[in-house]
């Protein structure tokens, strides 16, 4: 009886979007990222998961054959930092710079001008056109503690289905953006010193909160403190945006003092700390190489946002620092319906002129960000068992002339050019 009711309910829900038939992409140059390129390789996926990748692969009977000869097949791009899908007014709470209780997923709206704009399955068409299949979403950088980030897919049946890790982090920002936002509202933190002092005080409170709740489980709950306790217990890491050396030093010192896991975002000057970052296994998510800053301001001052050093990725990687490159796409006034995430691969390609190999560029926007986001069991490379997030390109992946021709997310063809 209960089963029948459940079935009746299920039939009211939209049909689950799922891969209905095995797919075999063959004849192309397969770039699994987790291993060397496979000329004339085949990728097979079934029920949303990759089942085989290689040069000699048995194609299941009845599979749809996709001819990729002359083309390149690689995993979907993973953009490790965006605020895409946020309305401009939803990027940060204006009144308070320390809001760990906020959840990015509760501002995320992949519809309207941003997504397909229609009821039905989610298709973040602009991101998909650039081959981006997974992204991290977080509040913007006007707060020191912006809130809790999440990892989502760019296509799928519904919001529940596309969320693959939440909360994924406590998302923070140091330096000019929180200071400037504070100045415009005449509240704290007005200086870098205040940014760090209030953060430390907040984390001390979280330690006390945790201690108090261990002794007295019925003590009043505080959502922000609960989120920070997850950070202190190392269940989730902190993402701290820090570009200048001062801010990076502050992030490293606070992380050490409170013993939480740290991921550095932006990281314009991070290479100056590369041996320490390597020793402490702190990854870096670099901002776009062609952009002079990572911020939400239209015309920021150069002295606040040093232009990125194009060799930063190579310097960090050669020192053994886990380094990803991300778009830092933000909702931005009226001009940004979709974000620049779609050009992430082309932007990262610049690094190939500055000391990275092609393979290193590709891993910087696929497997490495997947590892940093803690979702590499599911995405980031073409390996059997992972989600069938596969893109087909019509030319070498780092060329300006190359376009993403097909995008599969969990085995479903969600974008075609």
């Amino acid at each position: 009886m209960r089963a029948a009711i459940l079935l009746a309910f299920a039939s009211l829900l939209p049909m689950a979007e799922a891969q209905s038939r095995a797919v075999a992409i063959r004849g192309g140059t397969v770039l699994p990222v987790s291993g060397p390129a496979i000329p004339n390789g085949t990728v097979v996926f079934e029920n949303g998961k990759i089942t085989a990748v290689g040069a000699n692969v048995t194609i299941p009977a009845g599979a749809e054959i996709v001819d990729a000869s002359g083309k390149y097949v690689m995993p979907g791009i993973v953009d490790a930092m965006t605020s895409l899908g946020f309305a401009a007014t939803d990027l940060n709470e204006p009144g308070n710079a320390y809001t760990p209780e906020l959840r990015a997923i509760e501002a995320f709206n992949p519809f309207g001008t941003f997504g397909a704009g229609k009821p039905g399955p989610i298709r973040m068409t602009e991101s998909l056109s650039g081959g981006v299949t997974t992204m991290y979403i977080a509040p913007a950088d006007a707060s020191v503690i912006g809130g809790q980030g999440a990892v989502v897919k760019t296509a799928g049946e519904n919001l529940g289905q596309i969320t693959i890790r939440e909360p994924a982090s406590i998302d923070m920002a140091f330096g000019e953006p929180p200071k400037k936002a504070a100045a415009s509202k005449q509240r704290d933190p007005g200086t870098r010193m205040a940014e760090v002092a209030i953060l430390r005080q907040t984390l001390v409170k979280a330690q006390e909160y945790d201690r108090n709740h261990a002794q007295n489980p019925s003590a009043p709950r505080d959502l922000g403190m609960e989120a920070l306790v997850k950070l202190l217990k190392r269940q989730i890491p902190a993402r701290i945006q820090a570009n200048k050396a001062t801010d990076i030093r502050n992030a490293l010192s606070v992380a050490q003092e409170f013993g939480f896991d740290l991921i550095l975002d932006g990281g314009a000057d991070a290479y100056e700390f590369r041996s320490m970052l390597a020793d402490r296994k702190i990854p870096v998510v670099l901002g776009q190489i062609s952009n002079p800053y990572v911020s939400n301001e239209e015309i920021p001052d150069r002295s606040d946002y040093p232009p990125p050093d194009e060799t930063a990725a190579a310097k960090l990687k050669s020192a053994g620092v886990k380094t990803a490159i991300a778009s830092f796409s933000r909702a931005f006034g009226t001009l940004a319906p979709a974000g620049e995430s779609k050009w992430l691969l082309l932007d990262a390609a610049i690094a190939a002129g500055y000391g990275l190999t092609e393979a290193q560029v590709l891993e910087s926007v696929t497997l490495v960000p997947a590892e940093i986001l803690g979702v590499n069991q599911r995405v980031g490379s073409l390996d059997a068992g992972k989600d069938a997030d596969v893109i087909i390109l019509d030319g070498p992946p780092l060329s300006m002339k190359t376009w993403v021709q097909r995008v599969y997310v969990s085995g479903v063809l969600v974008h075609q050019r």
């Binding site: 062609s290 015309i299 001009l335 190939a352 002129g353 300006m400």
Partner: protein, 397 residues
């Protein structure tokens, strides 16, 4: 005796100077922006100017020779819309709504470290000017990105007068597109009246008190006499049409800047011979694929187009990526190159000096290790006025 020594020294240094004055770059794949690519071509530079370019050119004796080894050579690029060389806080005088009297040169910092970065990116000339925080924000300049001597660097101080469409504040007039248009129209009419007053004085016996001078109307008068052009920041097709109507009424030279939706009214722009600086904000701010195709649509309609970085919105040195993106979205490769060289030079009225590799022009050109539009291509050498102003081989790692 001392005098004689000095004269001798001077003669000696002149001789050295003369010997160094002929530079030859040979074996290049030269994209001149004035014709088809020249394979295995030679560029001869004399006294900082291009003396000859082509194949089968004899090399003058005593010339300093660079072998390009078959690499690509393109003209030094020109960014028609930049804010390089001034602090962002100096770009807009926000209390002002119409301020054509503001001169970018009064905010210019020759020691800004961005200049060296621009050179590394192969950008040798820029039109740099005030921002878009006023409806008229002032006078841009056209300036080389290299050299210590301001007078030599300035190509022209008349780099156009910046207009910026759209209301700049909700709290004062004008706060609507209609208000902006009416306010500009009123200012142009006042400028006409100002010019008439002065003409009357100039044509008369000039006795008594001359009319009062107004620096704003004086500057805007240059627009009406076409000594200056209007460089108009504009995004919406509606505002493009407003500008075209004002041009029809007042007869000024107009160049559209950013031009986000200009492609929607391309024939209107083309039939008036108006040029457009395109690809709003490159990859900095996401625009739809449709808007990204605007460059190609305008070009097909016959509109002269140029790329821009809007530095510091996009770093000056990545101008070539903006051209690459235009190519990606449908502009032919050679047209995309022209949109970073000869086209902006023509718009900036400096095409007699820069913008292509042709005899008589300033010897500003760039040697690259691959096609200019590929992200991974590196710029190896940049020549400015015939001298190597960036040499990657000498760069410390």
């Amino acid at each position: 005796m001392k005098m004689f020594q000095r004269a001798a020294l001077l003669c000696a240094s002149l001789t050295v100077l003369l010997a160094q004055n002929v530079i030859v770059v040979q074996n290049g794949l030269v994209h001149t922006a004035a014709g088809p690519p020249l394979n295995n071509a030679t560029i001869v530079v004399r006294d900082g100017k291009i003396a000859a370019v082509g194949t089968g050119i004899s090399i003058p004796a005593g010339a300093k020779i660079y072998d390009a080894g078959g690499r690509h050579i393109i003209p030094g690029m020109l960014d028609e819309h930049s804010h390089i060389g001034a602090k962002p806080s100096d770009l807009n005088d926000r209390p002002m709504v119409i301020g054509p009297q503001h001169r970018f040169i009064d905010a210019l910092d020759l020691h800004d470290p961005d200049w060296a970065e621009a050179v590394k990116g192969g950008v040798t000339t820029v039109t740099t000017g005030p921002g878009s925080g006023e409806n008229v924000s002032g006078q841009a300049i056209v300036i080389k990105t290299f050299g210590d001597n301001l007078a030599r660097r300035i190509v022209t101080e008349k780099g156009g007068i910046k207009w910026a469409m759209g209301p700049k504040s909700n709290e004062r007039y004008p706060a609507t597109a209609m208000g902006v248009a009416a306010n500009l129209r009123q200012y142009l009419i006042k400028t006409q009246e100002y010019m008439a007053t002065w003409k009357k004085w100039d044509d008369g016996d000039k006795k008594g008190t001359p009319p009062a001078r107004d620096l704003g109307y004086e500057a805007m008068a240059d627009v009406l006499t076409r000594k200056q052009r209007v460089r108009a920041h504009v995004h919406s097709a509606t505002d493009v049409m407003t500008l075209l109507r004002l041009k029809d009424e007042f007869g000024f030279d107009l160049i559209l800047h950013h031009s986000t939706e200009a492609y929607k009214v391309a024939p209107e722009i083309a039939k008036r011979g108006v040029s457009a600086v395109v690809m709003p904000l490159g990859d900095r701010i996401g625009v739809t694929d449709e808007a990204m195709q605007g460059a190609a649509i305008l070009w097909k309609a016959g509109v002269r187009i140029a790329m821009h970085t809007d530095h510091p919105v996009i770093n000056e040195k990545w101008l070539r990526l903006c051209g690459g993106l235009a190519m990606r979205y449908g502009l032919p490769e050679e047209e995309a190159l022209k949109a970073m060289t000869i086209n902006p030079a023509t718009m900036a009225r400096v095409s007699d000096r820069v913008g292509s590799i042709e005899p008589g022009k300033d010897a500003d050109f760039v040697v690259l290790n691959g096609p200019w539009y590929e992200p991974a291509t590196r710029i190896d050498l940049v020549f400015g006025d015939g001298q190597p102003i960036y040499d990657r081989a000498k760069e410390s790692k």
